[in-house]
């Protein structure tokens, strides 16, 4: 047994696998425990051998980038070890995600709560961008919430580092509702601005409590965006008509954001407008956004320990075993890593072949899949 094998064995013995929590096309997730401390962890066992061309691309990405990023607002990858032919990722255990919180109508959001979530999202994303990493799949479902209320960006299965100038990137990333217009027009050279659009959509969703730009297909997505924000002019977004997949979508007038976000403060509207700017180069960066007046305006962002939390899915009088409840919660927290993985694995490679477009049904199945598992 050589040194590498020995190290691997000692790592794998640090954790105990308990119950299986969920299974996707690409990974099986277990609830586990660190034996020394007793702390709960999630163990994501990646299926190898199913794909002939070796390890799944998103697993490589996840390991590669999470290994680099250590931040309060980015999910922690605690360890990686292999067992037989499988790769195991040991991840921080998290209770819920922002989507659950948004959908739970019993939660009332104060403006300060939204501010707090935005601060944590932007801090995490700023840290990624500072390390030259694009997340490329930001959505409420991928913003996990720890039991102390801290928000953590998760699911780096589509992440990549900033491209070198001569490398084309795929435009088939980011879940459709959160995908910026430049990617919908097939742009192959983009940057951190594309993540910022998603943040804008999430900000709007936090205020509206419903997805802001829910397109039914890629074509429809552009229509929905233009209808909401007006068709961009060449002035507003220089050069967009020469993007690879450019097509005429139709002329829609601009309506002020104020008309829809009636309760938002002036500063909130101003930040939202900057996040949803058409020209990606003019879109506010994560760092600039964190210095935006919105965050300095009272009220102060809510302390993370006081933020609204999701109610446990199983009610008290139900005789659901405690571990089943935890199991459901864990499944929820990792469903980005299991349920949605199917489509991602099919389009993970940055190559000349265009990956198949995301289907609306994929998203729907993710949602229904989780709820059917959640209800006792």
């Amino acid at each position: 047994m050589d040194a590498v094998e020995k190290a691997n064995l000692s790592t794998s013995q640090k954790y105990s696998k308990e119950v299986k929590v969920g299974e996707g096309a690409y990974a099986v997730v277990y609830k586990g425990r660190e034996i020394a401390t007793g702390r709960q962890v999630a163990i994501k066992k990646i299926k190898v051998g199913q794909f002939k061309d070796g390890l799944d691309m998103s697993a490589v990405r996840e390991v590669k980038y999470l290994r680099e990023l250590q931040h309060d607002n980015v999910i922690a990858l605690l360890d990686v070890f292999s067992s037989k032919t499988n790769l195991n990722l040991v991840l921080e255990f998290l209770d819920a995600d922002l989507e659950i919180i948004i959908k739970d109508r019993s939660n009332v959001f104060q403006p300060a709560d939204i501010k707090s979530w935005m601060v944590m999202t932007l801090r995490g994303l700023e840290f990624c961008h500072r390390n030259f990493i694009l997340h490329r799949d930001l959505k409420p479902n991928n913003l996990l919430l720890a039991s102390d209320g801290q928000l953590k960006i998760a699911d780096f299965g589509l992440a990549r580092d900033f491209a070198d100038p001569n490398v084309k990137m795929t435009s088939q990333v980011i879940t459709r509702w959160y995908r910026p217009p430049e990617l919908l027009f097939g742009c192959r050279f983009y940057g951190p601005g594309s993540d910022m659009w998603s943040v804008g959509c999430i900000f709007a969703e936090l205020m509206l409590r419903t997805p802001y730009l829910p397109g039914e297909s890629d074509m429809d997505q552009l229509k929905v965006i233009f209808r909401a924000l007006g068709t961009p002019t060449e002035d507003e977004w220089p050069g967009y008509t020469s993007l690879p997949d450019y097509m005429v979508v139709g002329q829609y007038p601009k309506t002020p954001l104020r008309d829809l976000f009636t309760a938002a403060s002036t500063e909130a509207i101003s930040l939202l407008a900057k996040l949803l700017a058409y020209a990606p180069g003019k879109r506010i960066s994560a760092k600039e956004a964190l210095h935006h007046a919105y965050f300095f305006q009272p009220p102060n962002p809510t302390h993370h320990s006081k933020l609204p939390k999701s109610k446990p899915a199983a009610s008290q009088e139900n005789d659901t075993p405690a571990d089943k409840k935890a199991q459901n919660e864990l499944y929820d927290s990792l469903k980005g890593g299991t349920g949605t993985r199917k489509r991602k694995s099919s389009m993970g490679h940055e190559g000349p072949g265009r990956p198949p477009p995301l289907r609306h049904g994929d998203m729907a199945s993710t949602v229904t899949g989780s709820s059917s598992l959640r209800s006792p």
Binding site: A112, V119, N166, F189, G191, G239, P299, N300
Partner: protein
């Protein structure tokens, strides 16, 4: 009543064909005369204070509104309508029976009609009367059950009066209750008044605070404008004196930014103070929310160890030059980011201690 509110009354009622502005009364509302508009007189808040309709008719003298635009229909204590001239004719010599039901009425006892439906009118009137006498509160009872029983009784009495069931017995019950609880009723009336006063005061104070704040902001804006004008005047003068333009502009920008920051801080402090006082008044335990700090980590990015140049001789980035530059611009790709990364990694690498003991 202002012209505006009359017009609003006429347009919102929906019962009118054309608002007859010509015969509109401009007199004080103490002696309201109904002009050529229907739906009723409205008070300052837009609520109808006296109801009237186009097809009104006095049931006694059969005068129709069509013939007498200024006719007022009032309601007797037995809830029968009659016009003001009939009231004058029948009751100016003292109490007399109602021409419809025979109940003895007095001229003073007539009320204005607020609701279209007289049943509602009656209901509201009786409830108001009962509420005045049966004003006990929860704290006057020792248990929820007793309080609930009391509320049930009150509801019974109200129902009886409205539907005229056992009126005499019910009136006797009311009288008995009044006698028994005279002191308590008086006390509760006083309490009620105090509560209403306090609520009004609170509202007034909050309104004042808001007004004050708005005034303050306006004053500041004015100040800002004046300062800006002064500033540009100063710049012009200095330029005329032949100073370096760039320097002058930079100086003025700095001064403006400083002023703005100070102003913002002051305003925020003021808002926080009022919010804190509101929270305290509401008795909320306040766990402090620390003010926003943009970045919370202390991760070192070597930013102080190098300065990024504006351009590099970079063969790799040739692709995004020229035609591609336009595409990159449209997509938000910045070649500077790639340069920044390359330079930072190089700089960071300088601090790494070489590995020792590697097989050569």
């Amino acid at each position: 009543m202002s012209r505006q509110s009359i017009l609003r009354a006429s347009t919102t009622s929906g019962r009118i064909a054309t608002p007859n502005v010509g015969s509109r009364s401009t007199g004080p509302s103490a002696a309201p005369t109904i002009g050529g508009f229907y739906g009723g007189l409205r008070d300052d808040t837009g609520k109808i204070s006296e109801y009237s309709a186009k097809d009104d008719q006095c049931p006694i003298c059969k005068t129709e509104r069509y013939f007498n635009q200024k006719m007022r229909l009032l309601v007797s204590t037995c809830y029968h309508k009659m016009c003001d001239s009939c009231i004058e004719r029948l009751y100016s010599l003292g109490p007399a029976p109602c021409p419809i039901c025979g109940k003895t009425l007095r001229k003073m006892g007539f009320m204005t009609q607020t609701f279209e439906d007289l049943a509602v009118e009656k209901d509201v009137f009786i409830r108001r009367r009962i509420a005045k006498e049966f004003n006990k509160r929860r704290e006057n009872f020792s248990s929820d059950k007793e309080y609930n029983d009391y509320l049930e009784d009150v509801e019974d009495i109200t129902f009886n009066l409205i539907n005229e069931v056992d009126v005499e017995k019910t009136e006797a019950r009311i009288a008995a209750h009044r006698e028994e609880n005279a002191a308590l009723i008086e006390l509760n009336i006083q309490r009620e008044e105090r509560d209403v006063m306090a609520a009004q005061e609170e509202e007034e104070r909050e309104r004042q605070e808001k007004l004050e704040r708005a005034k303050e902001i306006r004053r500041e804006e004015e100040l800002e404008r004046a300062e800006r004008a002064k500033e540009s005047q100063r710049i012009l003068e200095e330029l005329a004196r032949g100073k370096d333009a760039k320097q002058v502009v930079a100086q003025s920008r700095e001064a403006t930014a400083k002023r703005e920051a100070k102003r913002l801080a002051e305003r925020n402090a003021a808002i926080m103070a009022t919010m804190a006082s509101t929270n305290k008044r509401r008795g909320e335990a306040l766990i402090p929310d620390p003010p926003h700090k943009p970045l919370a980590d202390d991760w070192y990015d070597y930013g102080d160890k190098y300065v990024l140049r504006r351009d590099y001789d970079d063969a790799v980035s040739e692709l995004v030059r020229g035609d591609m530059e336009r595409l990159a611009l449209a997509g938000g790709y910045r070649v500077e980011d790639a340069w920044n990364r390359a330079v930072r990694y190089a700089v960071a690498g300088l601090e790494t201690t070489p590995l020792v003991g590697l097989p050569s």
